[in-house]
């Protein structure tokens, strides 16, 4: 209660311009429609164009499937990504521009998320949007790359590995369908969101 009183008194002491700016910021940031936009461009590349350290790491995972390499151009960064389908699961392993391991993503279904975590995530999404549909879920592993490799090869526990869930949802905002990519922590805590910019499909519809 004391802290609330303190916050209110601070609020009252702000100038009109400051209050307006803060109120505007809260309004904007609190609006689920206002988020960072996810807009990436990726280009298929040959193995010879991939940094050596990234190639070595992928080789150590001993996939016996075809690996497709992509160079991904984000808003302010470039990365490399290896994609494959192994034992019925889609894998995506991302590296920085110089070949440093960043994360491994494995496509899973929402039911594969531990039930308590899944419930927390769904409660959050429900509180934000009410009705929504889950389009895609990925288990994201980052941190110690050797531990992640061992987890992958021996299916060992995820101890010492940073776990996140990347979830793409579709929902309706102001009468229009939109998609968001959310990132949740291992415990189901909200981390970030980005609105997905949809690409035109007119040429295969008309």
């Amino acid at each position: 209660m004391q802290s609330n009183t303190f916050r209110i008194s601070k609020w009252v002491n702000h100038s009109f311009i400051q209050r307006t700016l803060i109120a505007f910021s809260l309004l904007i940031l609190g609006n689920p429609a206002f988020t960072q936009q996810k807009f990436e461009r990726e280009v298929r590349i040959r193995e010879r164009d991939v940094p050596e350290s990234a190639l070595q790491y992928i080789a150590s995972l001993k996939f016996d499937t075809n690996i497709r390499w992509f160079k991904e151009y984000g808003k302010d960064r470039v990365s490399f990504e290896a994609k494959t389908r192994y034992r019925g699961e889609n894998y995506s392993i991302e590296f920085s521009e110089n070949g440093t391991f960043e994360d491994m993503e494995i496509e899973i279904s929402a039911e594969d998320i531990p039930s308590g975590v899944n419930q927390r995530i769904q409660d959050f999404l429900y509180s934000e949007f009410g009705r929504y549909a889950i389009e895609k879920v990925q288990l994201q592993l980052s941190g110690n790359k050797e531990l992640i490799r061992d987890q992958f090869r021996y299916r060992s526990d995820l101890l010492g590995v940073e776990v996140h869930y990347e979830i793409v949802i579709s929902t309706r905002l102001e009468g229009s369908f939109v998609m968001f990519e959310f990132l949740f922590s291992e415990t189901g805590r909200y981390v970030s969101r980005a609105r997905i910019v949809e690409k035109s499909t007119d040429n295969i519809i008309y």
Binding site: R41, E42, V43, T201, D202, N203, I204, I205
Partner: protein
């Protein structure tokens, strides 16, 4: 490897067809397609498409007709769109009117996109009997440089369509197969060049084959 097989299959199919049919008709089919997105997931699509015949028994350039259409559509699910509109077929004989209703469902896969379209149309006018058609088309867009299409990238587009046409007591089936090479000029603009093969009349008689060299321009106007 998969794409190479697809090209080979297409080449074989086109080659076999070319040898199998006598005197197919050839023409060019340029089109302009403008899409305008509206609030609350509505959109309108304007299309103008012109037909010029360049070969029918002999080489001779002949203007055939122009189609102008306007379709209003709305999304009922994330990737499901329903729409309806009007098409005017303008030729030297006059104007034939067509009402169109359609539903399209698209899906994104890791390396390509697919779209199913079911549509109905009813054509009237120019003293011809009314014609009713029920159509199904499967289209795919395959980016050549990444997993999804970005500006400055090439793509392939394949489509296969089946048109059931009813006119008085007659029924005909037309099968259309098209392959295009496209280029994304910008996030809003795409250009496609390719071949569109259409075969009909093969149920009741001698098959009629037409090949159209298609040049399509698509542009989406900003919200």
């Amino acid at each position: 490897m998969g794409r190479s097989w697809l090209f080979l299959l297409l080449f074989v199919l086109v080659s076999v067809n070319l040898h199998a049919r006598p005197n197919p008709q050839w023409g060019i089919l340029p089109s302009v397609n403008i899409n305008k997105r509206l609030p609350k997931d509505w959109s309108v699509n304007f299309k103008a498409e012109s037909r010029q015949i360049i070969y029918r028994d002999s080489f001779r350039f002949t203007y055939s007709l122009t189609d102008v259409s306007l379709i209003a559509a709305t999304r009922i699910r994330l990737r499901t769109t329903i729409g309806g509109g009007y098409l005017a077929r303008i030729s030297e004989n006059g104007i034939r009117h067509r009402a169109i209703q359609q539903i399209s469902i698209s899906r994104n896969y890791p390396s390509f996109r697919l779209s199913h379209r079911i549509s109905m149309d009813q054509s009237f006018g120019m003293q011809n009997p009314a014609e009713f058609r029920l159509r199904y088309r499967l289209s795919s867009e395959i980016p050549l440089q990444g997993q999804s299409l970005d500006p400055g990238e090439f793509f392939l587009k394949f489509s296969n369509e089946y048109l059931n046409a009813f006119q008085e007591n007659d029924y005909d089936l037309e099968v259309r197969t098209a392959a295009y090479l496209g280029y994304a000029l910008s996030p809003a603009g795409k250009l496609e060049l390719g071949l569109d093969h259409r075969a009909n009349s093969f149920i009741s008689g001698y098959a009629r084959h037409r090949f159209w060299i298609g040049l399509n321009y698509f542009y989406t106007l900003k919200d």
